[in-house]
């Protein structure tokens, strides 16, 4: 059914993506698909006093802890737009399915849309939003 699955993970709060990753693993196991986790590093404005930590070690740590059941690769994208970075990653990895979690809607989502909704709308491959 699918051969390359991409799972966006927010390393600052992984609980929304835990269910997405578990679902992606079930599909990947059945299909023998490759699984890539993508995280997005937001660039630091030059005048910021406290620099955002580099996410690469956190991503490595996350990957280390999530290899059970099915192997998972990692990809770190640098972008100011999370949704655009996920779309880029989907193209870069030739993903045919993106599986992503979403948080409970806040007021901002009603005004501007959520990352999940934006990805579902603009990514050229199939998108599974897990709730």
């Amino acid at each position: 059914m699918y051969s390359k699955i991409l799972v966006p993970v927010d390393l600052h709060s992984t609980e929304t993506s835990d269910k997405a990753l578990a679902t992606a693993k079930e599909i990947a196991k059945r299909d023998g698909a490759s699984l890539t986790v993508v995280s997005v590093q937001i660039p630091i404005p030059a005048d910021t006093l406290h620099a955002m930590p580099n996410l690469q070690p956190r991503l490595d740590e996350y990957l280390e802890g999530h290899q059970q059941d099915h192997p998972v690769e990692g990809l770190l994208k640098h972008s100011g737009s999370i949704a655009a970075a996920i779309q880029d990653a989907a193209e870069e990895t030739s993903a045919d399915l993106v599986v992503m979690g979403t948080h409970d809607p806040s007021l901002g989502d009603y005004l501007f849309g959520s990352n999940a909704a934006s990805v579902a709308l603009h990514t050229p491959c199939s998108v599974l939003v897990v709730r």
Binding site: T23, G113, S114, V127, V129
Partner: protein, 128 residues
């Protein structure tokens, strides 16, 4: 995995949902789930409603195979809203839909932009 999978189908153009249907079937087998086909015909129930029921039943028996598959007819109104209500009422945990289904487009991409996707309580798979 998912236990109750809803697939919206326009019985006038069932080919649009064919790929969504085959993906739904695979996922149903994976999770031993039940498939619920929701007909999105906008005809109100009347003499036509009876014909719709027969058409839906024919659609189901063509595709059911060994799967648990049932059907629901929407009774006119706003298609997207009907689907969301039916999904909630019937405890659906996943809606599988084609991305280019024009009459369904407002489920995800309605007048208030993509934020409408947030209105479904369950998971959504957009098949491309």
């Amino acid at each position: 995995m998912f236990k109750k999978i809803m697939v919206p189908v326009d019985l006038d153009q069932p080919e649009i949902a064919e790929r969504a249907m085959s993906v739904a079937k695979e996922l149903a087998m994976l999770g031993d789930a039940e498939i619920l086909v929701i007909s999105i015909a906008t005809q109100p129930s009347s003499p036509e409603g009876v014909a719709e029921e027969a058409r839906l039943e024919a659609y189901l028996s063509e595709r059911r195979g060994a799967l648990k598959m049932d059907g629901v007819l929407t009774l006119g109104g706003k298609v997207a809203k009907e689907i969301r209500y039916a999904a909630e009422e019937m405890g659906v945990d996943l809606i599988v839909m084609a991305s280019h289904e024009p009459r369904l487009s407002d489920v995800l991409f309605g007048s208030r932009s993509a934020a409408v996707a947030l209105h479904t309580q369950c998971s959504v798979l957009v098949v491309r």
